[in-house]
Every structure is written in structure tokens, then in C-alpha cells.
Subunit: 465 residues, 3 copies
């Protein structure tokens, strides 16, 4: 008995310990996350996958880190389908902004009295407003279709539902949610006919369903799925009357626009920067979103800059490279401090140590650049990035190096003296050393020889963080 009591005490302590250890470990875990700004391609959830394609949804930004609280109502989705396939009709309780990454598609958008089909390809972007019934065909004979979607849910922050018009075993048609009585009255027809013509045969007896499932597993029967094969003839019907993205303007209310149709906003031999802002396009206006595409040539650098108010969600589409983002150290401690602020009314001074967040980029990786945070991106092979910017209206991109558009060079001489260790003259001379703007050589010739002696070829700068 004397042993039992201590044992019970231990159990008591055990409860307390368990409770506190949960708290500790979760905080520990957060601190271990080396780079919250990077989402490697494994941070996705597969919503659908068959032999014709797949749909993958990136982890919620706000679940990754509290620093992305302002991204809680944004999701990023990647759609991938094989040649001659169709994503069947459906609508969502979310606004979608589609950007075609590669391939050639026909997108059909339905309205109650009409339908519009569009030929879309790499660089084409279009908004699908919430509730729009649409379907998407890969019209190419060889190339996969890759589409990136920024999703802005209308019902629940960060969550959305897809309503499929056609059913399968795992994905019921939403019409089958109505009762027999409602369906019969709505279609003025016998339920058997409605079931036979519109709904999947899913109401059959369990044995039948099991048989069906087995059969489908073997045959991968197409009608059981969300992405199905289509014949050349079927694509021809879709292509009829399909419009291409407006080449003249990017300001259409409902037609796709191509990121590359306008001149790049920044361009030289090291790279090109294309951007459509909400001011330029009415589709992006009410959502306050910008879309951009950036090409950085092999061995080049997108010079250090920051966005004044937009937060960018950038996907590496092709090529390899590296990004560096400058933030504040000890985010978590600062958070904690904020939470504890009431105890801190004495007011101790906050130290502000900057922190470098650095990571290699491969196709499929996503990174987030919060407003105000300086960033630079270098390419070890031709790098193609597509970005969505939220809070985009009146966003300004301030460069911190380069000949033009360099905000540092605007500082008064006397303030340069006070702000920097060098004299104003030294600062000006240094700022004028870079003759390029926006994009530059990531390994300037002048320094190349010396660097290579020290560090080997260009790829050696791309160390993992």
C-alpha cells in the first residue's frame, strides 16, 4: 500500500506533466521549423488522383505559421491532367484565379443562358467567380496541362467545397442529394428515368456496388471519375466557337488575359518581369489580387527589393534557383511577447535582429514574401516563377540595388552620412557600381574568378539553408 500511494502521486503528476509537455513540445516544434516562408512540394493534400490527372491542395498558410494570419482565406491548388482529358462540370463556393503554367486547354464557363469557351495556354489567366459551373479540357495531343489556382472561399475562411454535376462512387453528383419527390417534380419525370439519365447508379444494392467497384478498379472506368478521357471529336465540339485570350487588352471583364501579352514591367538580358495588377484588370479588382510571371535566366539574379503592401505567393514552375528573404529574428519569441504584453507595461526595449531565410527552389516549391520583407532570387538554371499577390492595390516594388528605381539612391546626402558607416561619397560610388536594374548577373565577372577560386562553380552558391 505504501507503494501505491506514491504511484498515484506519480499519476497525478503525470497528468500535469502531460498537459505541460504538450504545450512545450508544440512551441519547440514551431521553433524547429527552419523556414516558414517555404512550402516544399510535399506540403500538399491530394484531393483527387487517377490515371488522367490529379488535383493537389497546398497546406493552409495560417496552419503553417501564425505569421500568415492574413493569408487564412487563400488556398493554392495545382491541377494536372494528361492530353485529351476533361475535368467534368462542377462549381465551388470559392472564387478561383486560374493561371495556366503549361499545356493547352479549352475552358468552358456556363451561365444560365449561355456558355463561353476559351482556348487558353501558358501565361493565360482568368477569374472563375464563385458558383460558376465550368469544365476544362486538355486539348493537346502530347503535352500535360498544368494549372495553378488561387482560391478565395466565400463561405468559410480557408475552406471550400466542390459541387460535382456528375457522380461517381467517391464523388457523388450533388443532384442526387435531392429527394425523389423534389427530383420528380423538378424534372417532371419518373424517378427511374432521372436516375438512369442524370445520376450515377449508386442507389443499387450493396452487392452490386461492390461488384461495380471491383470492376472499376480493374478497368479504371472513366465515368467513375472526375477527370476523364475525351476523344478528338469531343474536343472538336468544345473547340467550336472557343475564343482565345484577348490579345489587345488585359482589361476584359470575363475573358482570359495573358501575362505575357503586355510588355514586361522590368526586363533586360538577365530576366523579364510580367505583372497584371488590379488597377489594370477588372477581374482582379474586387479581389484585390495581382498576378505575375518572372523569368530569371541561368546565372542571373532578381535584385533585392520589397513589396510595399502586397504579400506574394510564388510558385517555382520551371528551373532551379534560390531565394533569400530578410525577416526579424525570433518570430516566436516576439509572438509570445506580444501575447504577454500586458505583463510588460514597464516597457523594455525590443531588440531587432534581422534574420536571413534562404532556400533552394525546385519546380513545385512555393514561397511566400510578406509585405515589406526584402527578398532576392537567383537562378542556377532558367527559372520561371508565377506569383499571386494579395492586398495588391497601390502596391509598389522598391528596389534596394541597381541603377534605376533604387530607393536608396534617393536618400539625402547628409542622411546617407548619418545612416551608413561610409561617407556619402563612398555610398554613392558603391550604389553606382551596379549598372543593371531589376535583374543582374548573379556572379559578376569582376568577382567571378576570385569566387571560383574560393568556392568552385556557380552551383556552389546554392547551398541548402
Amino acid at each position: 500500500m505504501t507503494m501505491k500511494a506514491p504511484f498515484q502521486l506519480l499519476m497525478l503528476l503525470g497528468i500535469v506533466f502531460l498537459a505541460s509537455s504538450v504545450c512545450v513540445s508544440s512551441r519547440q516544434h514551431d521553433q524547429d521549423q527552419e523556414n516558414p516562408f517555404l512550402f516544399k512540394s510535399n506540403r500538399v493534400q491530394t484531393l483527387f488522383e487517377n490515371e488522367n490527372g490529379h488535383i493537389r491542395l497546398l497546406q493552409r498558410f495560417d496552419k503553417r505559421s501564425q505569421i500568415f494570419e492574413n493569408l487564412q482565406n487563400y488556398r493554392l491548388l495545382e491541377y494536372n491532367s494528361k492530353p485529351h482529358t476533361l475535368f467534368l462540370p462542377q462549381h465551388n463556393d470559392a472564387d478561383f484565379i486560374l493561371a495556366v503554367l503549361s499545356g493547352k486547354a479549352i475552358l468552358t464557363v456556363l451561365t444560365p443562358n449561355d456558355r463561353n469557351s476559351f482556348n487558353i495556354e501558358r501565361g493565360d489567366t482568368i477569374k472563375l467567380p464563385a458558383g460558376t459551373i465550368a469544365y476544362l479540357a486538355n486539348r493537346d495531343d502530347k503535352e500535360d496541362l498544368k494549372v495553378l489556382d488561387l482560391i478565395i472561399p466565400v463561405n468559410r475562411p480557408g475552406q471550400f467545397q466542390s459541387f460535382l454535376l456528375s457522380g461517381s462512387e467517391n464523388h457523388q453528383a450533388f443532384l442526387s442529394g435531392f429527394s425523389k419527390n423534389i427530383l420528380e417534380a423538378s424534372f417532371n419525370a419518373d424517378y427511374e428515368e432521372i436516375e438512369r439519365v442524370l445520376l450515377e447508379e449508386q442507389k443499387k444494392d450493396p452487392q452490386h456496388r461492390r461488384d461495380l467497384r471491383d470492376r472499376r478498379k480493374r478497368h479504371q472506368s472513366e465515368e467513375a471519375n472526375v477527370i476523364v478521357k475525351v476523344s478528338r471529336e469531343q474536343i472538336e465540339e468544345l473547340r467550336k466557337n472557343a475564343k482565345s485570350s484577348s490579345k489587345k487588352s488585359v482589361s476584359s471583364e470575363s475573358e482570359p488575359f495573358n501575362l505575357g501579352d503586355r510588355n514586361p514591367i522590368y526586363s533586360n538580358k538577365f530576366g523579364n518581369f510580367f505583372e497584371i495588377t488590379p488597377e489594370k484588370n477588372p477581374q482582379l479588382q474586387d479581389l484585390d489580387i495581382l498576378v505575375n510571371a518572372v523569368e530569371i535566366k541561368e546565372g542571373s539574379l532578381l535584385l533585392p527589393h520589397y513589396n510595399s503592401r502586397a504579400t506574394l505567393i510564388v510558385t517555382a514552375v520551371e528551373g532551379k534557383g534560390e531565394f533569400e528573404l530578410v525577416g526579424q529574428r525570433n518570430e516566436n519569441q516576439q509572438e509570445q511577447r506580444e501575447e504577454d504584453e500586458e505583463d510588460e507595461e514597464e516597457g523594455q526595449e525590443r531588440s531587432r535582429q534581422v534574420q536571413r531565410y534562404k532556400a533552394r527552389l525546385s519546380p513545385g516549391d512555393v514561397f511566400v514574401i510578406p509585405a515589406g520583407h526584402p527578398v532576392a532570387v537567383s537562378a542556377s538554371s532558367n527559372l520561371y516563377l508565377v506569383g499571386f499577390g494579395i492586398n495588391a492595390e497601390n502596391n509598389q516594388r522598391n528596389f534596394l540595388a541597381g541603377e534605376e528605381h533604387n530607393v536608396i539612391s534617393q536618400i539625402h546626402r547628409s542622411v546617407k552620412e548619418l545612416a551608413f558607416p561610409g561617407s556619402a561619397q563612398q555610398v554613392d560610388r558603391l550604389l553606382k557600381n551596379q549598372k543593371q536594374s531589376y535583374f543582374a548577373n548573379a556572379q559578376p565577372q569582376k568577382w567571378e574568378e576570385e569566387s571560383q577560386r574560393k568556392k568552385g562553380p556557380i552551383s556552389s552558391i546554392l547551398e541548402a539553408f
Copy 2:
């Protein structure tokens, strides 16, 4: 003693069990809530009640279910008063959209330099901006006045306060909140006079107050209350210069507009659908609200449809009927999954089973139709519904059956083949079977006989869910 130790162990386990059972039961409880979209008339809190009328506030939407997170700043209030009564002057820290359900009233709205009185009756709608001092008289000799208010608080999400100019025992006048010094200086008068003329005699000694309370309980003295009786002469004064709702346009900045003044947007012999959208009325514009009124005739059906981006909060005003709403199964599990998403990076496929939510409607019942969710409503007796829609701008109503405005009929032939089990020809034939649009016979003649044989008269379709 050997018994005590296990007992203590049991107690220990008890704590753990208690803790976990709370979690389980709350989740269990949520799953038990058979239909979160329906608010029966018992889900209200009475804010005020006397012999002249009552004020009732519907439960917070977001407290009912997490799926209504986007409704957290909207409340629904029902006001009911007897003939020849007045709701005394007050203001609120919330915007109100009033819709008269029945009866005849005079609404007076004060501004610092003016006042405006309006004769309002069934179908009349007006916005009372936050902070507006207003009073409302039932000017009819016989009919009760029923008003429905959508409330959008400005200070705290989902919470609002009423500031009463006139006090009673339970509802102090807000002027009595100022100190004697401030009141004397403000009114340039002696405090006794201010108290005698403007404030209730509530500052008297406790014994006096007790007497007063007893006396009031016996006599139900009117001046002690928020809704009071008014004489015919007093109503005459209010009626003077009162304007009626603008018959010409629904676009006034501050005057009431009648839902029925414009032509119905959908109409046939089975029903009528009236709607004022933010695009049509400046009062609804900044709040992004729509208001509608739907009449469904006995034995008729509002055909299956969904709202592309608006969420509708609908009140059954008169008649009986039934609604069916299609959502996703296992909302709660999905929620849980969302929360656990970080552990799920392996990415398992989500199944999407549709769920039918079905309920009988009686006067006073409220139901919510989230954006994108298909819904159908049938009437077993003439049914009159009034709805407020949030997130209303650019909302589109997509019908899923009926001859006109049927989004399914716009699908390409080849896609119909792929999406539905029937051939495109079968699908088209089925879609053309319904000759009505928007509203139809809930028990089509063709099927009536057979159905009645199987199921009895029309009322039998209205089984509780």
C-alpha cells in the same frame, strides 16, 4: 483500504474521463444536431416582452455551427407589437435593415436638424444606419405589427447595445448615466428639474422603488416600458407629414422601398420572386446585402437552384412547406481533418459524399442557404418567405431544372455524354420535360395519380427529416 486506492484510481481516471468526455460529447452533440441550417422558432432570446409586444433575437449563427463563421456579424431580430402602440426612441451600435412582415406602421427617424416619418407596411424595407435615433408606431386599429430586422453590429462582432432615451425600471435611460455635474452644465438647469422632466424617478430611496415596482407589476404601467400604448390623437401627430414608401423607384438613399413595387424577377402561376439587390438600391450597397420575398403557392415548388456567392437567411412568414438543401456529408469530420491537416501531408484523397438537409417549415422558422449549396422549397399551403442575403453583390441564381435559366442545359453535348450516365439525347429530352421555369407544380399531374396511390395526398411528402 484496498478498496480506497482503486477508488482513488477511479477518481483519477474520472478526471481524465470527464475531460475527454466533454470533448467527445460536444462533438457528439454537434453531430446530433440533425440540421444546422434550420433555426426553429425556439432558438430565440426574448430581449423584451410586455402586454404591448415583444422583441426576440435569434441565436448567433456562428454559435450554432462553425459552418456559419461568415455570418458571425449578422443577427436576426423579430419585433412584434399590438395595434396603437409605440416603440420608444432609442439608438443602437449596429446597422439595421427593417422589413415589414405584416401590419401598418409609422417609422420616425431623427437627424440632428430634422426628422422624417414614413408610413410603412408589408414588404416595405428601409435601412436604419447605426446610431440613428428612431421610433416605431403601430398605426393600425386591429392588426399586429411584425417587423424583421437584419442587424449588423459596428462595435463587436455579433453583439450590439440599445441606448434608450427614456428610462424604466429595467431599462435605464442612457442620459441617467451622466453625472449630476455634467447634466446640470449640459442642460443649464438644476438637477432636480432634469431628473423630474427627463429621467425616470429611479434614484429614489429603495423602499420607494420597491413600492413603485409592486405598483407597476399590478398595473403594468405603460411608462415603465419600452413598448407603450398610444392614443389615436398621438398617432395622428406622428402621421402628419409622414411619407409613404417611394412607389416610383427603389433607389432612394434613405426612404423605404417596397419589395413588391418592382416586377417580380421570377413569376408564374406557381409563385413569385421579388428581390432588391445592392446594385439596385444605395441603402443596401455599402452593407452588400440583398432583400427578397418569395411567394410559393400551395402545392408548388421553387425549383432546385443555388446562389453563386450570396448566403441567404430566410424566414418563413406565413404558410407551411419544406426545404431541401444539399451539402457535404461529415462536415464535422471534414472540419477535424482541416485542423489536422498538418499531419496529413501524405495527402489522402477526400471523399465527397453529398448530404440532404430537409426540414418542414412553419411560420417563424429561419433557415440559412450558404453560397453554392443547391436548395429547393415546396409549399403545402401558400408559403411566404422573406430573405436577407449577405455578400450579395454580383450574386447569380443558377437554376438546375426548368425550361429557362437552366444552367445544366448549357452544357456541351459531348460533355453531357461524359458527365451523365444517359446519352446526350436522353439528357436533353429529360431537361425539356419540365415546361415551367423557376416555380413548378410540386406534384405534377402526370405523376400525381401514381404517387397518390403509393403515398397518399400531397401532405405526405412533408415528412420531418
Copy 3:
């Protein structure tokens, strides 16, 4: 053993007690907070302080009380600097609205291709959009510079970061966050030069850094800090081309505007009320903010009024006085009730007891006036207040006493009879007793003698709450 078991039982109970007592005490604590609307000058956190000035941040409103949930994305900052000092260049991930409280400054705002300098002084207000690099000099020879900033973060609710272009030991320059490789490629220069000219010498060996720190502690070396001394010549360079606040209009897109340039909206011998609303100024429009300045003369009173939809955050700049604010009693209980509402479907009537919140004001105190809440402010010495109003569009100020603009006087005669204990005639006579509007004598002559007999001189009305 018979003692141990009860002991263990006590421990068990102890856990339960501990758990519940935490809840109780936190609630207790809230109820103890006598006046959540007042933030005395100790509720600040010092972000920076040296011999040249300091930067202080007010506690988060929403951490103080749940009633300020709608203020969660607003922060208030106070900047103070000595004559001939400069706040070095930096940008923030937040919009700032600056209001100069006293002193004379030169504000320089950088754009990628230009810079603008402004002479600003007391009453001048300007918006610094998020991400703007700016620096601020106190150009006066004698007077301290005091600036009040309303801060609206763009990344995280209620939290913002400053990015400093120039570094010191405790506040690193953000450029030092980039790697050697990125900096060398960006500036096309050797890292040693970049470090020497642009970055602080913080990468030196630990011993050197320790020496440096010691030296700085002794000498308070200026370049190590955020606010530094500037020479008269340096100020002259800044002053060159500096514009003054636009005297003609308050509607500039980017230039400062002075609160006092327009006629006061309310004015008499007892006080002046200046206000710039979002309708009047494009800089305030997208943030939906108003800025006002109120002078209340010694012994005067700003008459009881409420704001229809704006919530005001008011700082006492000079003088002493007192405010009275009328709210609802038992906020906390009401909150709790709201949370428990689901259990309350029986619907018990809510009692509405008004509560007076009263406090003395000294320079540096901040108070919040939520929308709809009546307030009055009296001055025991000339009082100067500066306020920021959120949710400001279409805000209306309704006065409850005074000759003009008095909303109570608009009530129908018959309703006055019903609403107040006095007759309509008595009410009208009382309302007409105050000949002043907006501002009045806090100690009217008529009552002065009597009051003084009872209560002593004017200061005696200013009792602490």
C-alpha cells in the same frame, strides 16, 4: 495511510480547484479593471529610447478588453525627439497616419524615383503608406518634436515590423540580412567594401564587438542609434525644396494637411472642434479614418454627444480635464451570457442598466469612445485633444444637449410625453435652457454660486472615478 488518502483526495481536488480558480481569477481580474476605456500613460511599451528621443507603443486595445475586438488591427505610437535630431530611414509593414502634436519637423518620403520633403508642425497630418521609406528631422532649435501615429498593420493584425536601412548593435540594418553572395552580385562590388560603406561593423570578432559596445555605452555614440543628432547644416540640406502643408485644401493625395487650416466644424468661446473626414481627404479614404483636434477652454464642457458609427481613439495632448462615457453595466456578464446563449433558449429578458465610466485626463492619457456610446469631456485647464476615428465614413455626431444640432429636440411632442416623465412643454422648456451649442460652460453661472458653496472650486468636480 488513512491520512494519506484524504491528502490525495485533497490533491485531486486541488487540481480541479486550480483549474477553476484560474478561470475565476481571470474573470475577476477583468471585473476589477475599473475603466477599460482609459489607457493611462503607463500602458505603453518603449520600443526605443536614447538621449535624443524615444518611441513608445500603446498596449494592444484588444488585449486590454474584449470590447475592443474591432480595434485589433490598430496601434497607437508616440514619437518624441529633441531639437536637431533625425529619425533614421526605415520602412514598416503597416500604414501610418502621423499627426504632429508639437514642434517643427521635416519629413522626407522616398519613392523609387524621387523624394519629397515636407515642413510639418502642430496640427499637420499625413499618411505614410505601408512600405514607404521615410526619415524625420526635428528642425527646431529649442522645442521637442512630438508626433502621434495611428498604425494599421498590413501583414499581421495588431503587429508590425520596422525595417531599418542603417544598422547599430541592437538594431541591425536589414541589408545585412542578405548573404555575401547576394550583396556582392547586387552591388557589383567586393563584400568588404559593401560592409565598410553600407553595413555596420558588426561582423567583427566578439572581443571587438564587446569593446565597441563598451565604448558606445560610455560615449553614447550617435551612429549606433535610431535617433541621432544632426548639425544645422545637415538640417539645411533637408529643408531645401521642402514643401509646407497645403494651405488651400485638405484634399491632397500625398501632402500633409493641417487640422486647423479649415474652419472648425463646431466653435464658440468655450472651445473649437476641427475634423478631417475620409470624405474630405483622399489619404484617409481607403483606410476609412478620420482625424480631429479639439480645444476645450478651461472650465468648459464638450456637450454630451455620441458618434453614430465611428470609434474614436483620443489622446490628451495638453491640459487637464475629465471624461464621462456611458455604457452598459456588466459587460463581462453580458459577454458570458452571449457565450452561453445556446443554453438560454428559454429566452430570459435582458436588463439594461447603464454604467458611467469617468476618469481624469492628464497629458499622455488615451481614451476610447466606441460608436453609439454617449460621452462628455470637461476641461479644468485648457485641454487639447487629438483623436483618430476608425469606421469613419458617414459618421454623424449626434448631440444630446445644446441649442443647435440637438437630436432630442427633434422628437415629436406626443412621443416626448410618452418617453419622458415630464410633459412635452416641460421637456421643451428644459431643452431650451441651454443657449450654447457643442461647447458650454462646465460650471454655469446660475449654479456656480450654489455649487461652490456645496463643493468648493471648479477643480472639485474632477474627482477620480
